[in-house]
Symmetry: C2
């Protein structure tokens, strides 16, 4: 059945291609909320989701700005509206929900429709949750990886590409800002793409943005990395894996899931897209990080390596300690400052050790260092000042100020310290609580906001010693963050009285 409805133009833009219909009109078309209809006007035909609205008269079809533009239709003009079945990809999603494995073309169809914006949240969540709860075979993860690559842009370099990635989950993990210059200083090419924070106080791209621009087109990124041997850019702007961003925003983030199959495919797709040949993968492990148990980390590592073999990337995985922050700083400017300190030969030992260990893996893969000597070569490059020099070249190539020193970096001017409540030693640093406090203080939007730890597990403290500083750009956010810190206890000092039971007499 085809209805002829007059266009009613609406002054807003919906996030999905949607038309609004009166409930009775929808019934007579045999569609409900969320069904699809085909709309035709002047030789143009497009598919839209149906929203039911009593504000739309029975002889009208409501079109937001984007939908009206897609049909190139003016107010009052007649639009042909008819039922349209869901695309084939929806059938494949249902098939996966029912527990059947998907083939190459089926996964490709799903990913393409995700990127084309023609799937609903329900459909995307159906795909992600069935991945999460049913699991995916290595074949399916390989197809998913390739489908993400094929729906994004690609960058090709003319020499071997080295890369580093962390699956995330540990606060303050600014190691890329140390690893990239070490590896590039060794003469290798390391065009590092990175993400902005979605739920954490700072992504690598947020941290790097304190020192330089991070938003480049693929050709700008290629030219920077080719010129200085390394770059740290925001992957989102490069459009390497647009599907991934949609999966995260429309399902993973709202439902708090990160299906392993999707994580592997998304990481590996971004590496294929920059033409990576060698990859060191950081898997932070332990309580309070993404992977809690070492055996799960090993299993994850072996899946990454298997997919690496299938897509032509040599992968070495490093299982690292993830139960407390890397270094002492959390938040874009504080982390950028700490990374620079490390390159300047200062800064915390944990940052120096983790960065040189992972950089060393790439140096060994390349043959620059012999087996077993990667970390010591990396430390030599760091201690010689070559890595700092390379970082300044990268900063300059990315439009930043190469004369920057760690002490020049502006951090939030509103600061409060949490004192130790007693003599003792730090027995617990809680990743989640640290993240919460840093975010409440304004990170990552306020670059100067964050948390600086004065100690980590095992540090001896005296009553009244500052154990943690909170930095903010706005007094009101500092006060929010301080209350959260009081309640959530990001640092526990052994000897503290945690609770008094019963708490009333």
């Amino acid at each position: 059945m085809v209805l002829l409805l007059k266009a009613k133009l609406l002054d807003y833009v919906d996030r999905l291609p949607t038309v609004l219909l009166n409930g009775d009109v929808a019934s007579s078309l045999g569609v409900i909320e969320g069904s699809r209809v085909k709309c035709e006007y002047g030789g143009i035909s497009r598919t839209f989701f149906v929203a039911i609205s009593s504000s739309i008269p029975k002889n009208r079809v409501g079109l937001d700005r984007k939908s009206a533009k897609a049909l190139n239709v003016a107010a009052g003009r007649p639009v042909k509206v008819s039922y349209c079945p869901p695309p084939d990809s929806v059938g494949y999603i249902k098939k996966k929900i029912q527990g059947h494995a998907l083939g190459r073309d089926e996964i490709m169809a799903i990913t393409r429709d995700v990127v084309d914006g023609v799937l609903s949240d329900a459909e995307i969540c159906g795909f992600m949750l069935s991945q999460h709860l049913r699991g995916m075979s290595m074949e399916e993860i390989e197809y998913l990886t390739n489908s993400i690559v094929e729906t994004g842009s690609k960058i090709e370099f003319d020499r071997p590409v080295y890369d580093k990635h962390s699956i995330g989950g540990v606060p303050g993990n600014k190691v890329s800002l140390v690893i990239v210059p070490i590896v590039a200083a060794a003469g290798l090419l390391i065009p590092k793409t990175s993400s902005r924070a979605i739920t954490s106080p700072s992504g690598t791209a947020d941290t790097m943005s304190v020192l330089a621009n991070v938003e480049f087109t693929p050709s700008e990124f290629k030219s920077i990395a080719s010129k200085v041997g390394g770059s740290i850019a925001w992957g989102g702007k490069l459009g390497l894996a647009p599907a991934d961003d949609i999966f995260i925003r429309r399902c993973e983030h709202p439902l708090g899931i990160d299906p392993i199959s999707q994580m592997i495919a998304s990481v590996m797709a971004k590496k294929v897209a920059v033409g990576a040949n060698y990859l060191v993968l950081d898997i932070p492990t332990g309580r309070g990080s993404k992977v809690e148990k070492t055996e799960d980390a090993r299993a994850l590592a072996s899946s990454f390596m298997e997919i690496g073999r299938r897509v032509g990337i040599h992968v070495v995985c490093g299982i690292t300690y993830g139960s407390q922050p890397v270094g002492h700083a959390v938040g874009p400017a504080l982390e950028a400052r700490e990374a620079l300190q490390c390159l300047e030969g200062k800064g915390p030992i944990s940052l120096r050790e983790k960065s040189t260990a992972l950089a060393g893996v790439l140096l060994e893969m390349s043959g620059v260092a012999t087996s077993g000597n990667g970390q010591s070569v990396a430390k030599r490059i760091l201690d010689s000042g070559q890595a700092l020099k390379k970082m300044k070249e990268i900063i300059e190539a990315q439009g930043g100020d190469p004369r920057i020193r760690s002490q020049d970096i502006a951090v939030g001017s509103h600061v409060v310290s949490l004192p130790s409540p007693c003599d003792g030693y730090i027995s617990e640093v809680d990743n989640n609580a640290i993240n919460e406090v840093a975010k409440a203080a304004g990170a990552p939007t306020d670059k100067g906001a964050g948390v600086l730890l004065h100690g980590k597990r095992g540090y001896v403290v005296k009553k009244g010693d500052p154990i943690l500083d909170i930095y903010a750009e706005h007094a009101s956010k500092l006060s929010d963050a301080y209350s959260i810190a009081q309640r959530s206890k990001p640092i526990t000092v052994e000897g503290m009285l945690l609770h008094l039971i019963p708490d009333t007499i």
Copy 2:
């Protein structure tokens, strides 16, 4: 952080409580598409989902009609906008996704938030898919049942209530229109609520609506059923299980799932809501129906009976033959006509047998019939004309014409017959194809549309004999339905050449 944004009023109504923000404003609030914000104006505070729109200036918050009304705000007035964390129920949904069982209060919180319209599609699908893929314990199903009851309206009768339900999945299942009058004629109270079709050509409520009104308030429904002993009403209007409707429309229908736990809870909740004490449950089983294998039907029956015990309903399950339609008619008017024929002592044997068998179970449960004699008592009531008389009382009480005879019912005036392509016998009747053809012909919106089978499995047919008639109210839909029937072959005659391979020389 709290922003003061001027209200921009938008002339449409979104299906969820939503405000539109500029992308930069969203970033500074630390929210993304689908996050929640709290909006305050003039002492009123409400939570809304965030949609990001470039059509909204940075100093504005876009409000659709409903959102503007909720805040009672006029254009240009300043609204306080701040981040709002998801409700607790979202945490419980995440917990279920992670594989943990939910408690009574947690399930109650989810169902209440579903009914209150404060959960997104992603969140609702998260709950339904985790039910589907993780399963639910009997405790969880019991809690879910009770939560659906508590969020809907209830009806109380002053004598024992008998009820009948089918889990659906078989076309032409108009047995309720025969069972209800038989049971009521036996002096029992059977206030039957039923559904309208969502994906099938006719729900019981659609079929009954051909003969009488089906939309009543709870008090009207109570008074009708109390007066004549039986009623067949549309449950949607009664508001017995509003949660159920939302689960179906926002997740089950788009994703083609019907989690067993949700099905059981939804059925049993509706029965608790009408105060049912005795229930006969029809589980159509076989290829092409909801439950394909008898052992699965048995397991489902035992779950229904267990939940029945927990909520105080005596349940007897009937596993019935579901691989082809019940009777010969599919579509509202055709089915209503066939049900009346059965009550008049005519009509197909399968309808008479199934209806009296299930009615007989209730007669035995009540003691009206002794054990093993239920069906014969039901047949006596049917053959005596008492059931027809009772049906006419019910029709009259529901505002229909009690003088109606089966031959008076108007069916679609556009008809086409499919002839048998050869001599042979019917070897296959395809439920899905029958549904597709009937829906293409216009059912259930066009009440006269549908399909009439001239035979079912095992019938001997001669070449050229009509095997199936398609009825429609509009010529164009008849032609659509006819093409679908040509392609999807709802009836297979043994001896037919199905495919010629290769199909080109």
